[in-house]
């Protein structure tokens, strides 16, 4: 029970120092495990070595980051757009909701490694399309689920109000239903953003043009360049974080005025 009481006495700088402290401790343990004890397998290099590679090879890592990030972004945008459309249809026509339910549930559990080759065959192995499609597909799920929920969140009093002032269906959607669903959309986007990056990256690993973070990670991990491979992993994390932070900011902006 003392938790909230303690929280109040914590200085505000602890907010920033705590995660940094955790990071420093984590890095120290890592260095201890790899460099001092030398107990780690070769595949797990020291963070120092990773940092060196990151600096040394930043230009090629950056190039691949751009490719993976753009694939993830295109997938995220397209997947979200389609998800919003489907959610709007499902919210309007109940049966469609029921019809989509099993398909969405199944999509949510399809392994990326399984569908990427199929998408590559369907859409061409030499285009980035397969990756974008995979990113889109993974982004679709959380956006669809959240927007659909959001579209059902209008309160009876608001619905009554719009009816009482004789608003048309289109006006009700634009001025009530959509703004109500907006915070849900941004929550969905936030969840989808990290997933899109991860899945674009994993898709690269399953074929397609020989570029992007995922391809590089696998290539270098398999040729003994563990530190370089992990430098690429850091690149992937940076993309994921960038996506997360942008969408989290968006979510914060949208939920600011949301009803409690």
């Amino acid at each position: 029970m003392s938790a909230p009481a303690v929280a109040r006495t914590l200085p505000s700088w602890a907010r920033w120092v705590a995660p940094i402290g955790t990071g420093v401790i984590g890095l120290a343990l890592w260095v201890l495990y790899v460099d001092v004890l030398q107990a780690a397998p070769l595949m797990l290099p020291s963070p120092i070595a990773i940092g060196e590679e990151l600096v040394l090879r930043w230009d090629i890592i950056w190039e691949d980051m751009l490719i993976t990030a753009s694939n993830a972004l295109i997938g995220l945008a397209a997947g979200s757009l389609i998800a919003v459309m489907f959610a709007a249809i499902a919210a309007t026509f109940r049966p469609v909701d029921g019809m989509l339910a099993p398909i969405v549930a199944a999509l949510a559990v399809i392994p990326i490694v399984a569908i990427t080759p199929i998408l590559n065959t369907m859409f061409g192995a030499s285009s980035q399309f397969g990756r974008q499609a995979v990113a889109g597909l993974t982004a679709f799920i959380p956006v669809f689920v959240n927007v659909l929920r959001g579209l059902h969140q209008t309160t009876p009093v608001h619905r009554d109000l719009f009816r009482s002032i004789g608003a048309t269906g289109e006006q009700t959607f634009r001025k009530l239903t959509f703004p109500t669903a907006l915070p849900y959309l941004t929550t969905g986007l936030r969840i989808a953003s990290s997933l899109a990056v991860i899945s674009a990256l994993v898709a690269e690993y399953c074929g397609g043009p020989a570029d992007g973070i995922g391809t590089a990670i696998a290539s270098y991990a398999k040729s003994g360049h563990a530190a370089l491979a992990w430098a690429y992993v850091v690149g992937g994390i940076l993309i994921g974080l960038a996506f997360f932070l942008v969408t989290a900011a968006l979510e914060w902006w949208a939920t600011r005025r949301a009803p409690a």
Binding site: V157, D160, L161, S164, G166, Q171, K175, P179, L182, P259
Partner: protein, 265 residues
């Protein structure tokens, strides 16, 4: 319009809700006329159909029997013509809109141009005493202020009929008394007829020309109390004997008809 056309005329109105466990008769045989400019309160225990009746008048639901006329027209037409304004227990403001934008919502929906809208919003904000807050968001307002925004919104189209479903139910007593005075002032200024749902006997008496007392199972009107207080309603009145008489009259009408067993309260 002739003076004799009532603002609301309910003739043998009934409402039955089909539910999973059978039919619920929410209202039977409701007979009620509200004159233009008249202030009528609906009072009665929970579930007696007050809200249902109000929603029928507002054409938010359709009656299953009987007829309803608003200024001589069918309820649906009255709704489309914006003959009434409505306010609910929850203020029901859109949180992403400012106070001004909330007040102006009906005008916006009906395509009033920006200039006209701004003028009217300023006027309404003034009326409810929120001029300084037009650019605030609802979450920055107290409950009483939010409810005043909702009332301003319901007045936006200058309706001749105001429908209010426990608009002060969620407020504390002191704010409530204050808003009651405001409402009588506004109703007088706008010459609108008001149908006002409440749980509070003092509130009903303080505000109304007539108090409609209802009883549940099935919901029906059991008595209509003519309050007979002067048109001017001020704070003095709350301590006046006529007022206490009105309260006693409504209490008795109500208790005579209250059949709810304690366990179901």
């Amino acid at each position: 319009m002739t003076v004799t056309t009532p603002a609301v005329r309910a003739d043998a109105v009934g409402k039955v809700f089909p539910t999973k466990t059978g039919e619920v008769t929410a209202l039977t045989d409701v007979q009620l006329d509200v004159a233009p400019g008249e202030f009528v309160s609906l009072i009665g225990p929970s579930g007696c159909g007050k809200s249902t009746l109000l929603r029928l008048i507002a054409d938010l639901d359709a009656p299953t029997s009987g007829t309803l006329e608003i200024f001589g027209k069918p309820a649906a037409k009255a709704r489309h013509d914006q003959d009434y304004g409505i306010a609910f227990q929850q203020a029901g403001l859109l949180p992403w809109r400012t106070v001004g934008e909330n007040i102006g919502l009906p005008l916006e929906i009906h395509g009033k141009d920006k200039r006209q809208r701004a003028d009217r919003v300023a006027e309404l904000a003034e009326l409810v005493g929120l001029t300084d807050f037009v650019d605030s968001h609802p979450d920055q307002l107290s409950g009483g202020m939010q409810q005043r925004v909702a009332i301003a919104r319901s007045l936006a189209e200058q309706p001749r009929l105001l429908l209010m479903d426990e608009p002060f139910g969620a407020l504390d007593e002191m704010t409530r008394e204050y808003l009651q005075s405001e409402l009588t002032r506004i109703a007088a200024e706008t010459h609108a007829a008001v149908v006002f749902v409440t749980h509070s006997i003092p509130e009903a008496v303080f505000l109304s020309d007539r108090v409609v007392v209802m009883s549940p199972r099935p919901g029906r009107i059991t008595e209509i109390v003519d309050v007979g207080l002067p048109d001017e309603r001020d704070e003095q009145l709350r301590e006046a004997p006529e007022y206490y008489d009105g309260v006693t009259a409504v209490r008795e009408a109500l208790h005579g008809t209250t059949t709810a067993r304690p366990n179901e309260r």
